[in-house]
């Protein structure tokens, strides 16, 4: 994996995740199965032997915290540089800020909130094989909403589950069209010249841009320099590169001229084959044209390639960018994607730290996790939930489909269902929480029904 630099965009204190993240807990450190979410990306990169990383964090404070955690956890495993950038500069802005650090031929950009087992090496290899200017990882869009509670309305799903509209060539390796953000809900506008070049375009709505990109460094830097209004990689830079691929505006270094494009999808080649069909009828015309066409080589079309690597359906791929996603990912990491968590599961298909204490007649079901130092009283029941470190849980407590972070106190007779409870929360007796997606930090709650 020579000459690939990795930039992890770890974000800051995203507003979208408002009560979950805070100054103390930046987005990168949100726990997923009791590990910071960033650790999933870092270990994924490590598994592809990508060990030189730049982690970009928004905000100085957040950067300090993230840096502190990384140096503690990965001191002798990874070579990580943490860079702080101002808040709200967007992903493009964050890259502009670290652009001077980039020297390698290609840059791999990964979002810090990605929880996946798709090898980044595969994306990088696709990128190199095609000599693309950008290669993006596409994965099957998750069906959102908790699968078992049935709380999200069915009719909503059709609309909600659409993340991107992508256009691919018949081999599914070239990315020919992408709509992101607000574009997705509009009518699909496909460029004719691109369709003409490939002949067949596969348009799909079931794929999601997973925010892992391999860029040719020079191209990335050019685009960031020239287009200073670009704010987001996903919504500006990538769509821009995709739609200008037959008429490249970026400077020529390292780019393919039409002539050396071996794929046969570029116009001049089609044009030659088309001519050859007519050769026997008008041989003279054929030769004239071949002789005349390179008359103005500086006019030759410059093209660049945008590629896609599509993760297979069996791979897990999700981004922690909403509260719903937070509970989904937590559920999946101890559930269907349990190989990601890095823990070994017991025969009951759950993880109970040896130091956790369970009262009598307390049951912990499968796909649960109980971290170190947590105590549970008698007759409790835990199903499909994650309980953090050093939590104190009284008797007769039911916890279903929930995430309970660290140092939470839950008194007797509480019912927690489909909820997220942040660190240091105190729930007094007989609190009922149902589908209450977040519960603020350090708040404590008396007997109430939410």
């Amino acid at each position: 994996m020579m000459d690939f630099q990795v930039v992890v965009l770890a974000g800051g204190t995203a507003k979208k995740l408002a009560p979950l993240v805070s100054k103390e807990v930046p987005k990168a450190l949100l726990p997923v199965a009791n590990r910071p979410v960033l650790s999933y990306v870092l270990e994924l990169l490590e598994s592809s032997n990508l060990k030189d990383l730049i982690v970009v964090v928004e905000g100085e404070d957040a950067a300090l915290r993230v840096g502190g955690w990384i140096s503690g956890a990965y001191v002798d495993r990874l070579h990580v540089e943490v860079a702080a950038v101002p808040e709200d500069v967007g992903t493009a802005g964050a890259l502009r800020a670290v652009a001077h650090h980039l020297t390698a031929n290609d840059v791999l950009i990964v979002s810090g909130d990605l929880v996946s087992d798709v090898p980044p090496g595969a994306v990088a290899a696709t990128h190199r094989r095609h000599g693309a200017v950008v290669t993006t990882l596409l994965c099957y869009a998750p069906v959102s909403g908790p699968s078992d509670t049935g709380s999200s309305a069915g009719k909503d799903k059709v609309k909600k589950s659409r993340y991107n509209i992508v256009g691919l060539d018949p081999t599914r390796q070239l990315l020919l069209h992408i709509a992101a953000g607000a574009e997705v809900e509009k009518d699909i506008r496909v460029q004719k010249n691109i369709l003409r070049a490939v002949g067949q375009l596969e348009i799909r709505a079931d794929l999601m841009d997973a925010h892992m990109y391999a860029f040719k460094r020079t191209v990335l830097q050019d685009v960031l320099d020239q287009k200073d209004t670009f704010h987001s990689i996903r919504q500006d830079v990538l769509p821009y590169l995709v739609r200008t691929q037959l008429r490249s505006e970026i400077s020529a270094n390292g780019l393919h001229k039409v002539e050396d494009n071996a794929n046969g999808r570029v116009s001049s080649q089609n044009y030659v084959t088309w001519m050859s069909q007519h050769r026997e009828i008008a041989p003279s015309a054929y030769q004239e044209l071949l002789a005349l066409s390179p008359r103005s080589p500086e006019n030759a079309l410059r093209t660049h390639k945008c590629c896609a690597y599509i993760a297979s359906k069996s791979k897990y791929c999700a981004r922690l960018n909403s509260i719903q996603a937070f509970s989904d990912i937590n559920r999946d990491v101890v559930g269907e994607a349990s190989h990601l968590s890095g823990y070994s599961f017991s025969s009951q298909n759950n993880i109970i730290h040896p130091s956790a204490e369970l009262g009598s007649k307390t049951t912990v079901g499968p796909q649960c996790m109980l971290a170190e130092g947590s105590q549970m009283g008698d007759k409790c029941s835990v199903k499909r939930s994650i309980i953090g470190r050093h939590c104190r849980i009284g008797s007769n407590v039911k916890i279903v489909n929930s995430v309970v972070m660290n140092h939470v106190t839950i008194e007797d007779g509480c019912l927690v269902q489909g909820s997220v409870i942040c660190s240091n929360v105190h729930l007094q007796e007989r609190v009922v929480l149902k589908d209450c997606q977040e519960f603020g930090v350090c708040s404590s709650c008396c007997r109430s029904h939410l």
Binding site: R162, I165, G167, G181, A182, E183, E185, K186, D187, I188, R189, V190, Q191, K192, N193, L195, R196, A197, G199, Q200, L201, E202, I203, R204, A205, D206, Q226, K227, D228, T229, F230, H231, S232, Q235, D236, P239, Y240, R243, T244, L246, R247, E249, S267, N270, Y271, W274, M275, Q277, H278, E280, I281, A282, S284, A285, E288, L289, L292, R295, N299, L301
Partner: protein, 632 residues
């Protein structure tokens, strides 16, 4: 039979009943178009010979081969001729399972009208094959029919299956090798349902806009511009009633298919069936006539090739090496050459030193000495006198070319036209004995001439010398004058002025291959186009404010290309005037001032001049003996 008729109304519901219904076909023996004018003023398109057999024979032979039992031939224009032909042919006589029934109508002006007439007759009782009489195919319908029937069982709204075939249009001219415009289709890859169809694409539009709802029911769709519509449809009886319900549906594709796709109330669905190895194509214009003729000669349509007897009226052709077909009685001079991929009909005589290549010659033609025929189609009883030159021309029955006639590429000579000695018919001309009807657009859909409609002043062939300025290739002036005196004696016919598309578009559908300059032009304009299109591309509202910066980069670029292309055109035009006889001194001045006004360098100027010289040298290889040296 009686039982079948009794159950007609119920038959579509019961699959068992369906199975017993004989396979029917509707053959439209009228194209409802004017593309083959002036020829179709005198003879219906389906009876025009294609490699010496009427087109309709190919279609009927194919229908018979795929197991159609009843074929209804819908005749409209020249219906008597079609009926007479069918009555004489073996199609009506043969006792087998294949019956042919003509249906006659005089007031139909479109395929929609035709289907409404057929609906009113009530002869269709099950799924039927809908083709037009100019379809050449050797595909097997078994699979497509099977698919159609199975879909119908599951979903009664699946009313039609369209046959499509892979064919990539040229990236420069955006037309297929059949001369059709590119077609955009969106197809669901799993169900093969057709979701979008666009055959008249707006070239100025750089985007295809698909309704977002298309992706609501399916996560994936394939957008194609590399498929060709074979115009072979398997239809359910509902199709006929749909045409009756929507009385404004005229065109099968433009109205019916699009109408169904847009209308989501009724929910009717159209599916596609792609064929891979078999042949299916429709003759829509002169270019497809040329392409399909070549395909037949090169045996892509096997078994429908000249030397296989697939219908009775085919004489015994013999296939020699290099794809040369010869009828048994050809009187060929020892010194005459017949080159590859040619066909010579029965009773044709070819004189000394004549050369024929890539051409089809009909029956009982007389070809004189030193005649060169290249890429042309000569029908029956044509007389070509000595020293004629024909390239990529279509010559109908009974035409008489006197000595020394030159037909430039793309010329169409309709029935019994006579051309006087040493006349050069300019490229893409159409000559007919009938004058050109004036109101082109009002009866656009009609194949036959409206006898009462006015007649425009068509130049008769005697005045051909005056129309010579249309001729793109300047000939030596003295030859032109010598023509004029002799034309009046023997020429008969009107030269049609070019129709709606104008001369500019004529090359698209002509028999002649696309001229090199045209392709060059496209090559250049493709560059400028893309430059300009970048504005378009960038004005796509993304989240960032892209408009501002795009103006500065994309637009400048485009402007630049435009300038240089303009300059080249100007220089070329100026240079042409030297050839036309303007004093070279003046032209030098003009070109210099052009260079200054466009702010071009000497090198650019010399380059454009060189280009113009080479180009004119190409187009008029023998004509000019001017020396250009003093210009540079």
């Amino acid at each position: 039979m009686a039982q079948k008729k009794g159950h007609r109304s119920l038959s579509s519901d019961d699959p068992e009943e369906l199975a017993r219904v004989p396979l029917q076909a509707v053959l439209l023996a009228d194209s409802f178009a004017t593309k083959f004018r002036p020829i179709t003023l005198e003879r219906p398109k389906v009876l025009l010979p294609l490699v010496n057999a009427p087109m309709i024979d190919y279609t009927l032979a194919w229908l018979e081969s795929v197991g159609v039992e009843e074929a209804f031939v819908f005749c409209c224009a020249h219906s008597q001729q079609v009926k007479d032909y069918l009555n004489k042919s073996q199609w009506m006589k043969q006792p087998g399972t294949f019956t042919v029934q003509p249906i006659e109508s005089h007031d139909s002006i479109s395929a929609g009208d035709a289907l409404r007439v057929i609906y009113n007759l009530g002869v269709i009782c099950g799924d039927f094959v809908l083709v037009s009489g100019d379809t050449i195919s050797n595909m097997s319908l078994k699979e497509a029919l099977q698919e159609h029937k199975e879909r119908r069982k599951k979903d009664p709204l699946a009313v039609m299956t369209m046959v499509i075939k892979h064919s990539k249009p040229s990236s420069l001219t955006h037309q297929t090798r059949l001369g059709n415009d590119e077609i955009l289709m969106a197809i669901d890859p799993d169900t093969k349902e057709l979701l979008y169809y666009e055959d008249k694409t707006d070239q100025s539009q750089r985007f295809i806009t698909l309704d977002k709802m298309l992706l609501a029911s399916t996560p994936t769709l394939h957008l194609h511009n590399d498929k060709q519509d074979c115009y072979i449809d398997i239809c359910s009886p509902e199709v006929l009633s749909l045409f009756t319900d929507n009385f404004d549906y005229q065109h099968l594709r433009r109205h019916f298919v699009k109408g169904l796709l847009v209308d989501d109330l009724m929910g009717y669905k159209i599916f596609t069936h792609e064929i891979h190895s078999s042949y299916a194509a429709r003759i829509d214009n002169f270019r497809s006539y040329d392409t399909i003729s070549k395909d037949i000669i090169q045996r892509w349509t096997y078994p429908m090739v000249p030397d296989v007897q697939y219908f009775g009226n085919c004489s015994q052709m013999k296939l020699d090496r290099l794809g040369i077909y010869k009828a048994p009685e050809v009187d060929q001079s020892r010194t005459a050459q017949i080159r590859a991929f040619s066909l010579i009909g029965n009773g044709t005589a070819i004189g000394d030193h004549s050369v024929i290549s890539n051409s089809v010659i009909g029956q009982s033609c007389t070809i004189g000495r030193n005649v060169s025929i290249q890429g042309s189609y000569i029908w029956d009883n044509v007389i070509i006198e000595d020293d004629c030159k024909l390239s990529h021309a279509l010559v109908c029955d009974g035409v008489h070319l006197r000595a020394g006639v030159v037909l430039e590429p793309g010329v169409i000579l309709s029935f019994k036209v006579e051309v006087g000695q040493k006349i050069v018919i300019p490229a893409y001309s159409k000559v007919s004995l009938l004058p050109q009807p004036s109101k082109q657009d009002s009866d656009e859909e009609l194949e036959y001439a409206d006898a009462n409609s006015g007649v425009v002043e068509s130049p008769s062939i005697t005045s051909i010398a005056n129309t010579r300025n249309v001729d793109p290739v300047p000939d030596s002036p003295d030859a032109e004058h010598s023509d004029t005196s002799e034309v009046g004696i023997s020429g008969v016919g009107y030269i049609w002025s070019t129709t709606e598309g104008g001369h500019e578009e004529e090359w698209r559908h002509s028999i002649a291959p696309i001229p090199a300059e045209k392709l060059m032009e496209f090559c250049l304009s493709a560059h400028t186009d893309l430059g300009v299109s970048n504005q378009d591309v960038n004005s796509l509202p993304a989240s960032g404010e892209l408009q501002l910066d795009s103006e500065s980069t994309g637009f400048d670029d485009g402007e630049d290309y435009k300038d240089s292309a303009d300059f080249e055109k100007e220089v070329e035009a100026t240079f042409q005037r030297v050839l036309a006889g303007v004093n070279p001194e003046n032209v030098i001045l003009e070109i210099n001032s052009l260079r200054l006004s466009y702010d071009m360098s000497h090198a650019d100027c010399a380059g454009s001049l060189f280009y113009s010289i080479m180009k004119s040298a190409l187009s008029a290889p023998f004509s000019s003996n001017l020396s250009f040296g003093n210009l540079i």
